[in-house]
């Protein structure tokens, strides 16, 4: 069973995404802010990290940057989840080393499958 780390500051979203991920077979651990996300990434060694972009204190980009600067965590695929719907946002996320980018509000019927697909693609490309 693959382990997903969900870093999301909105409690409702944490609940929703956890349910959606568990339905497609992930074991889910959650962090409610960036710093916690980083710690958990080191301790939990997840197979994938779902990272909210807009967070107080440390946003998604900074978290991603730190993750990428840690050789032990370098290879864990990161999927950005954001309610930023501007056209440049997806490109920016991808160029920051994200394996994928999903806009909020997510399509609950396709969310889980999308994450599985992105993880598989990331593994294949490594």
């Amino acid at each position: 069973m693959m382990k997903a780390l969900l870093v999301e500051d909105n409690e409702n979203n944490r609940y929703l995404f956890t349910l959606l991920l568990e339905y497609v077979g992930f074991s889910v651990v959650t962090a409610s802010h960036g710093r916690q996300g980083l710690e958990m990434a080191r301790t939990e060694k997840p197979d994938v990290i779902l990272l909210d972009i807009q967070m107080a204190e440390m946003d998604g980009y900074e978290v991603a940057e730190r993750l990428k600067s840690d050789p032990a965590l370098l290879t864990i695929p990161i999927i950005g989840v954001s309610s930023f719907a501007m056209p440049g946002d997806r490109a920016r996320a991808l160029s920051a080393g994200f394996a994928g980018y999903i806009e909020k509000p997510v399509d609950p019927e396709r969310f889980g499958e999308t994450v599985v697909k992105l993880v598989n693609d990331a593994r294949l490309s490594q």
Partner: protein
């Protein structure tokens, strides 16, 4: 010529009378002379001689010879008179007076000499003359008034010479030869001698070689020559003279004269005449007359020949002159006609023929001018010309005023003519000369000028402008509206200058002076200034000043046209004020507007910011609504009864609709703010089409609609914003599905001219024709009633249009109400060039 002939006759007459008187005298003393003869011949008489050719010369044997010598020698021999010839340099007068010689062969007879010794009746007569060098300046006697004149001391009448040339320096020389040598050598200017000697000298070519000698006759100085003698020897002299005459009569002089060739023929005649004289004194006188005539003829011969030559030359010159004159007349530009006193045309030149069309021949055939009634004169001028004719034939020179002629061809021409009498040498009128000139062109020009002047004057006088003419800065003409404009009459201002009366406004002198300066450089000048009227009021004037050609007096001249611009000035002033006011208001309003604009820009920025924030904030709760709605509906949280399922379906559908609404609103706001970013990437349109059909299939399927796709199987490769392309197609197909109750939707795509052309057709409700125009406007759903049936934000088509504009494409629609619609859009296959929107933007939106 006349004068010469007269002189000649007079001379002959004088000589004749003289001879007659002498003959009568000699007849009176005849008896006394015969009586004393016997005594006289008893002794030898010494007879002097000198070199006086041809009368006295030295013969080849050294003995004296010459015409006079031979005549006397012969006569003495026949009479038995013994003569001893004594050569002497002494002058004959003193030789005879002192008695050193008894006789002298030939001497000029003068009263003075007759008192001192005897001189016989004349044997010969001669004129005297002066020989001068041909190249000298001396032409006649007056030229010689103060010249150096040489003369022989032998036969010459010295006192007479001195009387004639009182100012001249007269030198005596022994012989004629000496005299000529002096002249040739330039020692004297002229040699004075009798014509025998001169003739002999010329005939023997005793001249100055290359320089010939010229003969100046002294006609009044006629001399008679006789045989000189002491009073004792007077009978001998008388006898010798008679014997010469006798010998001549008996033809015995021939051999003597023969030696002096130029006299021989004439001496024959002399002899014949003298013979008859012996028998009859009267006859003798006549004979002597003839003899003298003939002698004179000899020395006149050369003169006559010369005269003839001169005449011939003169005639040739005259002919040449006449020819030249005729040529000149022929080529004269002026018409020339001559008439004799019978008033017949005698000559017309070519110019006359050209002018009138009449030739000499055609005019001559018409007879006199009166008969012909002056055929070329225009009837209107007949009297005028007739009076000129009368005057001209009366001997006056008259100038005919311009008049018209009618040519032979019927043309009318203006001419000017001059008539004058032709006089012969004696001053008698022998005809009339007429010269004329064609002045038709000048007349026409004058006519044109007159008309032009008249037109100009009319124009000026009726002009609303003041027309002022200047000469030397003074007003010389005050025309047109000048009086009306300024108030002064012409009489009040003509002759005045600008400074002479209060006319120019004090403050405007600079403008006026600069205009005057321009005029003085002969440049036209426009001047706007104020003037005073006569009543002191001010008038604004516009002066159009131009320079006229200087008149005959050479003074600077000008013309000014003056326009009253007072009203225009007022209007301009009012306009200026209005303009300034307008300007002020515009500035005010512009300030207000720019402030408003700044506020609007702020508002716009706030709006965009607001929309972006709102969109983000709305998405977060929507995420939960859609997410959990979906989870519940999928019964993942537990089974649902049908009523719950239906209600959850409504929640899901409404929340998705709300999401679309938010997205569209965000897009519109971005596009309107010019901040819509396009991301170009390569993709295949077929994939986009497939995605769209796939996502709409459930909806279409639910309505029982068929969605057909007609795309080339190999696909259409694009380099465009994929997401926007998808959005476009999805929007159109979604609309088609939404507004179609039954039938189907068809998507077709093709390429044309490097563009993708996509059509979406449906069999839906269609759009009314009157609504097509507003179809692509924001927040319009065509039929208000449709809203009740179909959901929509009204932003979809507007967004499509805006997006296509942004991507370089366009959209069209065809529709028939109740039958269906066909939307077609096209896009470049490749997005155009560098698009700043390609750059990723880091915008803090949250």
């Amino acid at each position: 010529m006349e004068q010469k002939r007269l002189n000649y006759m007079r001379r002959i007459l004088g000589a004749g009378i003289l001879i007659a008187v002498l003959s009568a005298g000699s007849a009176g003393v005849w008896l006394w002379r015969r009586h004393s003869w016997d005594v006289a011949v008893q002794r030898t008489y010494r007879i002097g001689w000198a070199l006086l050719p041809p009368l006295e010369v030295r013969g080849d044997d050294g003995r004296p010879s010459g015409l006079a010598v031979e005549l006397l020698r012969g006569a003495a021999a026949r009479r038995g008179i013994r003569l001893e010839w004594v050569y002497t340099d002494e002058d004959p007068e003193s030789a005879l007076r002192t008695g050193r010689v008894d006789l002298w062969p030939i001497l000029t007879i003068t009263p003075e000499r007759r008192k001192l010794f005897y001189i016989s009746d004349p044997l010969l007569e001669t004129d005297h003359c002066l020989l001068v060098r041909d190249d000298s300046r001396y032409r006649d006697l007056t030229d010689l008034a103060s010249a150096r004149i040489g003369t022989s001391n032998l036969t010459i009448d010295g006192p007479a010479l001195r009387r004639r040339f009182s100012q001249a320096r007269i030198a005596t020389r022994p012989s004629v030869r000496n005299l000529i040598e002096d002249v040739c050598a330039g020692l004297s200017d002229a040699a004075y001698m009798n014509e025998y000697s001169a003739l002999a000298a010329l005939l023997e070519r005793r001249d100055c070689g290359a320089n010939g000698l010229r003969w100046i006759s002294m006609m009044q100085q006629r001399s008679r020559l006789g045989i000189g003698a002491t009073f004792d020897a007077a009978p001998i002299a008388r006898a010798l003279r008679d014997e010469v005459a006798l010998a001549a009569a008996e033809h015995k002089l021939g051999p003597i004269a023969g030696r002096w060739g130029y006299l021989s023929a004439n001496l024959e005649s002399i002899s014949a005449i003298l013979e008859s004289r012996r028998r009859e004194l009267r006859l003798a006188a006549v004979a002597a007359l003839f003899a003298l005539l003939l002698v004179m003829a000899i020395f006149q011969a050369a003169r006559i020949r010369r005269e003839r030559n001169r005449t011939r030359h003169a005639e040739a010159a005259l002919r040449e002159t006449e020819r030249t004159l005729r040529l000149m007349a022929e080529h004269l530009h002026e018409a020339v006609a001559t008439f004799d006193m019978e008033r017949r045309v005698t000559y017309v030149n070519r110019a006359f023929e050209r002018l009138t069309g009449y030739s000499t021949v055609s005019l001559a055939s018409r007879g006199t001018v009166e008969q012909a009634r002056l055929p070329w004169v225009h009837p209107a001028h007949l009297d005028q010309v007739q009076s000129c004719w009368q005057a001209a034939f009366g001997g006056q020179a008259v100038h005919a005023e311009d008049y018209r002629v009618v040519t032979a061809g019927g043309d009318v021409k203006w001419i000017t003519a001059t008539w004058g009498p032709i006089l012969d040498e004696a001053g008698n009128q022998i005809g009339v000369l007429c010269t004329g000139r064609d002045i038709t062109a000048r007349k026409a020009a004058e006519q044109t000028l007159r008309q032009t002047s008249l037109r100009l004057a009319t124009l000026l006088n009726n002009s609303p402008l003041a027309v002022i003419e200047w000469s030397d800065h003074r007003i010389v003409n005050w025309l047109g509206g000048a009086q009306q404009l300024f108030g002064w009459t012409a009489d009040e201002v003509i002759g005045k200058t600008l400074h002479d009366f209060r006319w120019v406004h004090e403050d405007d002198w600079p403008e006026v002076r600069s205009a005057m300066a321009a005029m003085s450089e002969r440049r036209p000048a426009l001047c706007r200034n104020r003037n005073y009227r006569k009543d002191g009021s001010i008038v604004y004037c516009e002066w159009y000043n131009s320079v006229l050609p200087s008149g005959a007096d050479g003074l600077p001249a000008g013309l000014s046209l003056v326009l009253d611009i007072t009203e225009r000035r007022h209007a301009e002033e009012a306009l200026r004020r209005a303009h300034a006011e307008l300007e002020r208001r515009v500035t005010e309003r512009t300030l207000e507007l720019s402030a408003a604009n700044v506020r609007l820009q702020d508002l716009d920025r706030l709006k965009s910011q607001f929309l972006a924030s709102m969109s983000h904030e709305l998405r977060t709760p929507l995420n939960s609504i859609i997410g959990f709605g979906s989870l519940l509906r999928q019964e993942l949280a537990g089974p649902l009864n049908p009523e719950q399922k239906k209600q959850l379906d409504i929640i899901c559908k409404s929340s998705r609709h709300l999401l679309t609404l938010i997205n569209d609103l965000l897009d519109v706001s971005r596009i309107e703010a010019g901040r819509a970013d396009l991301q170009s990437e390569p993709f295949n349109f077929n994939d986009v089409a497939a995605e769209v059909t796939q996502s709409l299939m459930p909806l279409a399927g639910a309505k029982g609609l068929d969605v057909a796709v007609d795309i080339p199987p190999e696909g259409i490769q694009l380099y465009q914003d994929r997401k926007r392309t998808l959005q476009l197609l999805l929007n159109l197909v979604h609309n088609a599905v939404k507004f179609t109750a039954s039938g189907g939707v068809r998507i077709t795509a093709r390429t044309a001219a490097q563009r993708l052309v996509v059509a979406v057709e449906d069999s839906g409700i269609g759009i009314k024709a009157e609504h097509l125009g507003m179809l692509f406007e924001a927040f319009r759903q065509v039929d208000g009633s449709a809203r009740k049936v179909y959901e929509g934000t009204g932003l979809g088509l507007y967004l499509c249009k805006k997006l296509l504009e942004l991507m370089g494409g366009e959209i069209r629609v065809e529709s028939e109400y109740g039958k269906g619609s066909r939307f077609e859009f096209e896009l470049p296959l490749r997005s155009s060039g560098a698009n700043p929107a390609l750059e990723p933007k880091a915008e803090a939106m949250g």
